[in-house]
C-alpha cells in the first residue's frame, strides 16, 4: 500500500518549459518528504552589466532577459524610467502599448496552453504529435498566435525583441491604417479564441481544492496589464513602490533562481490564476459568459486550472485588442521627452506569467547606477515546491510512471520561464 512506499522522482531536464531546470522529489513511507526545483540555467547577470549604461537602453537590454515576454520587460523599464523623469505618456500611446502588450499575452498564452501544456492533459509529447489527432486545435492556435504576434510586429517592428518602443512613447507614430490588418480578421480570430477556450473548458482537469495565496496587480476599471495596485487574497493592498518591503528573498544552494515569499513567510503564486481570481469582474463579459456556460467562475480552485485562466485571458486579450484598435487615434508626437535628472523608481507590469518588477536608480547624466529585476517565475518557485506536497496523494498513490508525469505537470501549471528567472536577483549594493 501507499503507506510504506518510498521512492524518488528525478527529472533531470524539464521539457516543454522555457529554460533549463529539473525537479527532485523524495517519497518516504507514502508521504512526500522532500522537493527541490533545481534551476541550472546559467545566470546572465543583467543587473550587473546594466550599470553604467544609459537609461534609454534599459528597455532594449532587459527585453533580452526573455524571448517570450520581451514587451513586459520593455514596458516595466519604460514605466520605471518615466516615473523618475516625471513623464506622462499620452493616452494614444498607452492604447498602442496595450494593443502590443495584449498581443504578447496572446502569443505567450497560446504557446503555453495549446502547445506546451495541453499535451500533458491529452497525453502527447508535443503539439506536433498532437496535430495529427487534433488538427483544428493546433491550426486555431497557430492562427490566433500569429495574430497576436502581428499586433506586436505592426507597432514594434518585430514580435520578439521589438524595437519600436522607447521611454516616453514610441520611436515613430503608428498610422491608424497600419492597424487595419488586425481589424480585418478580428471576428474570425475572436471565434477561434472562443473555440480554444471552450476546448480547454471541456478538458478533464484535476478537481481537488487547496489553499492558494495569490498576488497580482489589481485593476481599477480595466483588467490589469500595464499598471495597478498590488493585491493578494489575504486582503493586502500596496503600491508597486513598496513591493520589496512586502516580500523576502533567499538563495538556495541547489538553484540559480532565488526564492521569494511574502514578508510573513508564506509562499505566493503570481500569474494568470492570481489575476483571474483577483480581477474576475474586470474580464470582458463575453469571456465570463463562455466560462459560466461551462460551469467555471472565480475562484479557480487549484493550479491545474491555471490553464483555464490562461485560455480565458487569451480571449479577453483578443477582445481588448479589437476594442483598442477601434478606439485608437494618432498621437501628436511619437514620444514625450524630458530633461534627464537623477532619481530612483520602481514599476510593476503584468507579464504573461505574472508580476514583473523593475527598480532603477539613475544619476544626473541618465546613467544606470542600480537595477533590481524580479521576474514572475522566480516568485513562483516556492509555490511550485509547495504544490508538489499538496498533490502528494496523486503522486504517491499512482504507479511510478504517472508519478513523474504529475510532478512535471504540476511545474508546468506555472508556465515557468526559467530563462527569465535566473536574473531574478536581488542586487546587493557594494562599494556604496
Amino acid at each position: 500500500m501507499s503507506g510504506d512506499k518510498s521512492f524518488e522522482i528525478k527529472v533531470g531536464q524539464l521539457a516543454r518549459v522555457e529554460g533549463e531546470g529539473g525537479v527532485w522529489v523524495r517519497v518516504k513511507n507514502g508521504k512526500i518528504d522532500y522537493v527541490e526545483v533545481n534551476i541550472f540555467e546559467p545566470p546572465r547577470f543583467f543587473e550587473a552589466f546594466l550599470r553604467g549604461r544609459s537609461y534609454l537602453e534599459a528597455p532594449d537590454i532587459t527585453a533580452r532577459i526573455c524571448g517570450i515576454c520581451p514587451l513586459a520587460y520593455i514596458f516595466a523599464a519604460c514605466r520605471a524610467m518615466e516615473k523618475i523623469l516625471e513623464i506622462n505618456v499620452p493616452e494614444e500611446i498607452q492604447v498602442l502599448r496595450k494593443i502590443a502588450f495584449y498581443g504578447e499575452w496572446i502569443e505567450s498564452h497560446v504557446l503555453h496552453f495549446a502547445f506546451l501544456h495541453a499535451p500533458d492533459f491529452l497525453g502527447y509529447h508535443s503539439a506536433l504529435e498532437m496535430a495529427k489527432d487534433y488538427p483544428n486545435l493546433v491550426r486555431n492556435a497557430i492562427a490566433v498566435r500569429d495574430w497576436g504576434n502581428r499586433a506586436i510586429e505592426i507597432i514594434g517592428g518585430r514580435a520578439i525583441h521589438p524595437i519600436g518602443f522607447r521611454i516616453g512613447g514610441l520611436y515613430r507614430i503608428i498610422r491608424k491604417e497600419e492597424l487595419e490588418p488586425l481589424s480585418r480578421n478580428y471576428e474570425e480570430i475572436r471565434r477561434k479564441g472562443e473555440e480554444l477556450l471552450e476546448f480547454v473548458l471541456n478538458m478533464d482537469l484535476p478537481d481537488i481544492q487547496y489553499d492558494m495565496t495569490l498576488m497580482s496587480l489589481k485593476g481599477r476599471k480595466e483588467y490589469p496589464i500595464l499598471e495597478g495596485l498590488v493585491a493578494n487574497n489575504l486582503g493586502w493592498e500596496f503600491p508597486e513602490d513598496s513591493f520589496e518591503e512586502n516580500i523576502t528573498v533567499e538563495q538556495k544552494m541547489y538553484s540559480n533562481g532565488l526564492h521569494y515569499r511574502l514578508r510573513n513567510g508564506k509562499p505566493y503564486i503570481t500569474g494568470p490564476i492570481a489575476r483571474f481570481n483577483l480581477n474576475y469582474d474586470l474580464l470582458a463579459p463575453e469571456v465570463r459568459d463562455v466560462l459560466e456556460a461551462a460551469g467555471y467562475r472565480a475562484p479557480l480552485k487549484n493550479t491545474y486550472q491555471s490553464i483555464v485562466a490562461r485560455a480565458a485571458e487569451n480571449l479577453h486579450s483578443i477582445i481588448e485588442v479589437g476594442r483598442l484598435v477601434e478606439e485608437y487615434s494618432e498621437p501628436q508626437t511619437p514620444y514625450v521627452d524630458a530633461r534627464v535628472r537623477a532619481g530612483e523608481a520602481a514599476a510593476i507590469v503584468e507579464a504573461p506569467r505574472g508580476m514583473l518588477y523593475h527598480r532603477y536608480r539613475i544619476d544626473e547624466l541618465g546613467r544606470i547606477v542600480y537595477a533590481n529585476i524580479v521576474p514572475p517565475t522566480t516568485q513562483n518557485y516556492v509555490a511550485m515546491e509547495e504544490d508538489i506536497f499538496k498533490v502528494g496523494d496523486l503522486i504517491v498513490k499512482g504507479p511510478p510512471e504517472t508519478a513523474q508525469r504529475i510532478v512535471e505537470m504540476t511545474i508546468r501549471n506555472y508556465d515557468p520561464c526559467i530563462s527569465c528567472s535566473v536574473h531574478a536577483i536581488k542586487l546587493r549594493i557594494i562599494n556604496e
Binding site: Q13, L14, A15, R16, V17, F40, E41, P42, P43, R44, F45, F46, E47, A48, F49, G52, R53, E57, D60, I61, R64, I65, C66, G67, I68, P70, L111, P119, H125, S126, A127, L128, E129, V138, I142, R145, D146, N149, G157, R158, A159, I160, H161, I163, G164, R166, L170, Y171, R172, Q251, M253, N256, P334, C417, S419, I425, K426, L427, R428, I430
Partner: protein, 261 residues
C-alpha cells in the same frame, strides 16, 4: 539523411540565452508544419518531451557558453551531430550577457548573488565557435525566422547553406529609408552591422544598435571616427560599440585598441 524514411533528424539545443531564437522557430507556425514532412524533430526540449539521444543530422544551437557544464554538453553535441549551426547573436557572438566580459567577474557575481560561492560560472561567456567547430552560423537577436527557414531548406536539399552578410546599410537603402545619420545626425551602427533584420531601427527613425552582430569585414574604426565627428564623446562611442556583439572578434579587437586611447 540517416534512417527514418529519409527524414532529416533535427535537434534544437539551448545554452545561456532568452529562448527567443527557439521561439522564432516555433513562430514559423504553418511553415514549420509544412517542412515537418521532411524533418523529424528528434530533440527540442522546449517544444517536446520526446527525447531522442541522437545522433542527429542537424543541431541548431541557441545561447552562449557560460558554465563548465555547458562546455561539456556542447562538445557532446558536436560528436553527436553531422551539421552544427549556432543560431542567434548569443550563440554566434556571445550576446547581451557577454557585456559582463568587460567587467571584473568576481564583482559581477558578488553584485548579483548574496552567496556568490554557490554560483558556478565561467569567467567569460563565449560563442559556440570558441568551443567546437561549427558548420554554419545565422546571427540575429532574435534570429530572423525566414532566414532560418531558408537555411534549413538549403540543408534539406543537401546544399551548403548561404545567406547574405553585407552591411545593414545595403538593406536600408533597398527599403528606401532616409539615412538617420546623414539626415538627423543620429548615431547608427548600420555601416558595420550585418543585414537580416529588415533595417528595422532606421525604418523606425532610430539608429541601429547592433543586435545582429557585425557584417563580413567591418570597419569599426571608420565608424568610430564618424561618431566623433558628429559630436559623440569617446565614452559614448565605446558604449555604442560595446553592444550585444561586442565579444565578436572584430569589435573586441577594435574596442581593446580604442579604449587604450
Amino acid at each position: 539523411m540517416s534512417g527514418n524514411g529519409g527524414k532529416l533528424r533535427l535537434a534544437v539545443f539551448k545554452f545561456s540565452s532568452c529562448s527567443g531564437c527557439q521561439d522564432e522557430l516555433i513562430n514559423l507556425g504553418e511553415d514549420l508544419l509544412s517542412i515537418i514532412e521532411k524533418v523529424e524533430i528528434a530533440y527540442f526540449l522546449e517544444a517536446s518531451s520526446r527525447i531522442d539521444p541522437g545522433p542527429y543530422d542537424v543541431a541548431l544551437i541557441e545561447g552562449s557558453i557560460s558554465t563548465p557544464h555547458e562546455m561539456e554538453v556542447v562538445k557532446n553535441i558536436r560528436r553527436n551531430s553531422k551539421i552544427v549551426i549556432p543560431i542567434g547573436t548569443c550563440a554566434v557572438h556571445g550576446g547581451p550577457q557577454s557585456l559582463r566580459n568587460w567587467m571584473d567577474q568576481g564583482d559581477v557575481v558578488r553584485q548579483v548573488y548574496p552567496r556568490p560561492e554557490w554560483i558556478n560560472s565561467l569567467d567569460k561567456t563565449t560563442p559556440i565557435s570558441e568551443h567546437i567547430k561549427v558548420d554554419y552560423q545565422v546571427s540575429g537577436c532574435p534570429v530572423n525566422r525566414l532566414q532560418l527557414l531558408s537555411v534549413l531548406k538549403q540543408v534539406l536539399v543537401g546544399r551548403r547553406p548561404y545567406h547574405r552578410l553585407e552591411s545593414l546599410c545595403q538593406e536600408c537603402k533597398r527599403r528606401g529609408n532616409v539615412c538617420v545619420m546623414v539626415s538627423r545626425g543620429t548615431p547608427c551602427l548600420g555601416p558595420i552591422m550585418v543585414e537580416g533584420c529588415g533595417a528595422l531601427c532606421p525604418s523606425y527613425a532610430r539608429g541601429c544598435y547592433g543586435c545582429f552582430g557585425p557584417m563580413i569585414d567591418p570597419k569599426p574604426e571608420a565608424l568610430a571616427r564618424r561618431f566623433e565627428e558628429i559630436g559623440l564623446p569617446r565614452e559614448e562611442v565605446i558604449l555604442k560599440l560595446r553592444n550585444f556583439s561586442s565579444w565578436s572578434e572584430p569589435l573586441r579587437r577594435f574596442l581593446e585598441r580604442y579604449e587604450r586611447g
